[in-house]
């Protein structure tokens, strides 16, 4: 398909002798928001870590804009246009919000573009503009998540992968972040969203991938998944 941005095929990986993912396959179309749901320990973060080059694939691979990326370094993957907002935000706590955002644009040399994107993320998250010179580690949980997403966007990526968007955040904050995700995906950015809270995930994404013990169980439109009794029972807290 001409419009496929990311194509994961038969991907397996793990840590040392422990295999975590088996034969994972799915794809993301340009501009699409796809969510990845699965219970704790299913391997969602591991999948993202493999896609950003932090851990190698043991079998299979993935193509980004048609180019095989498995085995590439994290720098190559960032440069290709994949940004990873990691679980737990992983901001550089002692550095200012501003410096964190600049690190998101570390590989970019188009100064004007970086300045434009800085203005853009600061207008998406006005609170970050106020906190610009504050150490990132002193932000509230919600502000940290905004900073982490903004930092990812400073790479001007084609695919933004967010691990655990809503974890530990108040409902109003999640609502606000969801609005932002909608806005940026309307601008054409593809999003791979990892969420434990399937209800939030299904609202944001058009399609969902259900990961169960390291294997893909289901791939479907989120509207369909939301009606699936097995999904309802396992991930939406409905019996």
């Amino acid at each position: 398909m001409a419009d496929t941005l990311l194509e994961v095929s038969n991907l397996s990986t793990g840590y040392g002798d422990v295999q975590v993912l088996w034969d994972v396959g799915f794809d993301i179309t340009r501009g699409e928001t796809v969510c990845l749901v699965g219970s704790n320990g299913a391997g969602k973060s591991t999948l993202l870590r493999c896609l950003s080059g932090l851990i190698p694939a043991t079998a299979g691979g993935f193509r980004f804009e048609g180019r095989e990326m498995a085995g590439r370094s994290p720098q190559d993957i960032v440069a290709a246009g994949i940004a990873h907002v990691p679980e737990g935000r992983r901001l550089f706590g002692p550095m200012s919000v501003h410096d964190n955002l600049l690190l998101g644009a570390y590989l970019r040399h188009d100064k004007d573009g970086v300045r434009r994107d800085l203005d853009r993320v600061l207008s998406l998250f006005p609170i970050l503009a106020q906190r610009r010179n504050q150490a990132a580690g002193t932000l509230s949980g919600g502000e940290q998540q905004m900073c982490a997403i903004a930092r990812g966007m400073m790479n001007n990526p084609k695919l933004l992968m967010i691990d655990e968007l809503s974890l530990g955040l108040a409902p109003q904050v999640v609502e606000m972040l969801s609005e932002t995700i909608r806005a940026i995906s309307k601008d054409g950015l593809s999003v791979l969203l990892v969420e434990q809270d399937a209800i939030t995930a299904f609202e944001l994404a058009t399609r969902g991938v259900v990961l169960d013990s390291g294997r893909v169980r289901l791939i479907d439109a989120t509207a369909k998944l939301a009606e699936n009794p097995a999904v309802q029972e396992a991930y939406m807290g409905l019996a």
Partner: protein
């Protein structure tokens, strides 16, 4: 009045010590490597400056960039080629490695330059001025000013530049840094090279103050160690303050118990201080 003189001597010495310690502290803070080679790097800087002066008549302050660069390149090669293989492992492993490298390096220095002491004798020394009853040796004072400028320059690089951001990011969370596209191993090698550059440059400055021999490397290393623990590991302002603190301590104790025991007194004070304030004078803050 004599105490003011001791203070002036101590501050001049301390500025040089800051420059000795800051590279060591950076390597320790960012790479978590206690670089035993640091003393040998300083001595190599001394020799480069010594021979530039002896053979070509180049003033030590002029050959400083050369000494810094040469030692810096050697540092880059050492980190990229050897130490990066064990970086991230426990301090014991990296310490053993740099200790072993230091043994090799030291013997190479002795083979190359013999164990004899040498001293740079300036052709046109600037002499001494008297300010309000305090005597200030101008060459040393200038060396101190340059040392503090280098230290301040490093601080600015770490605070303001893209490279500095990458170094601080790698230090704080190497995995998150690589998600930003930072090449962690190369950043380690550059950080180590900066530490080596500072050592080589410090060597140039020290050559106008101290006689040099391969063995003096260990003396400088132990001073860097004391300063680093005093000022807080990985902190540039900490190294500056720790350096001046050690300089003052040595100057005053030299006048009271004699110069032979000055460093011993410094170590005793260090142990006493650590018992009361294990985090150092400045606390274990970051480079920010």
């Amino acid at each position: 009045m004599i105490y003011l003189q001791y203070a002036a001597n101590g501050i001049i010495l301390g500025g040089l010590y800051a420059c000795i310690a800051v590279g060591f502290s950076l390597t320790w803070g960012v790479l978590n490597i206690i670089n035993i080679l640091h003393g040998a790097f300083i001595v190599l800087g001394c020799y480069i400056t010594y021979f530039a002066h002896q053979l070509f008549g180049i003033h030590p302050f002029v050959s400083l960039p050369l000494a810094g660069l040469m030692v810096g390149i050697l540092g880059y090669a050492t980190q990229a080629g050897i130490i990066n293989r064990v970086v991230g492992q426990s301090v014991l492993v990296t310490l053993t490695l740099t200790f072993g490298l230091d043994l090799i390096f030291n013997n190479a220095l002795i083979l190359g330059f013999t164990a004899n002491y040498r001293q740079v004798v300036l052709a046109n020394p600037l002499g001494t001025v008297e300010v309000a009853g305090i005597f200030i040796p101008l060459d040393r004072a200038l060396a101190m000013v340059l040392a503090l400028l280098l230290t301040f320059g490093l601080y600015i690089v770490l605070q303001m530049s893209r490279l500095g951001r990458a170094i601080v990011a790698v230090r704080f969370d190497r995995e998150a840094a690589s998600l930003m596209g930072v090449n962690v191993m190369r950043t380690y090698a550059i950080t180590f090279a900066i530490g080596a550059f500072m050592a080589g440059a410090a060597g140039s400055l020290l050559s106008v103050v101290f006689p040099i021999a391969p063995i003096t490397g260990h003396l400088f290393l132990s001073k860097a160690f004391v300063i680093c623990v005093l000022g807080g590991i990985g902190s540039v302002p900490g190294a500056a303050i720790g350096g001046i603190a050690l300089g003052l301590l040595e100057s005053f104790s030299a006048s009271i118990v004699g110069p032979e025991l000055a460093l011993t007194v410094a170590f005793v004070v260090l142990i006493a201080l650590l018992a009361v304030r294990p985090q150092g004078i400045m606390g274990r803050e970051d480079m920010h």
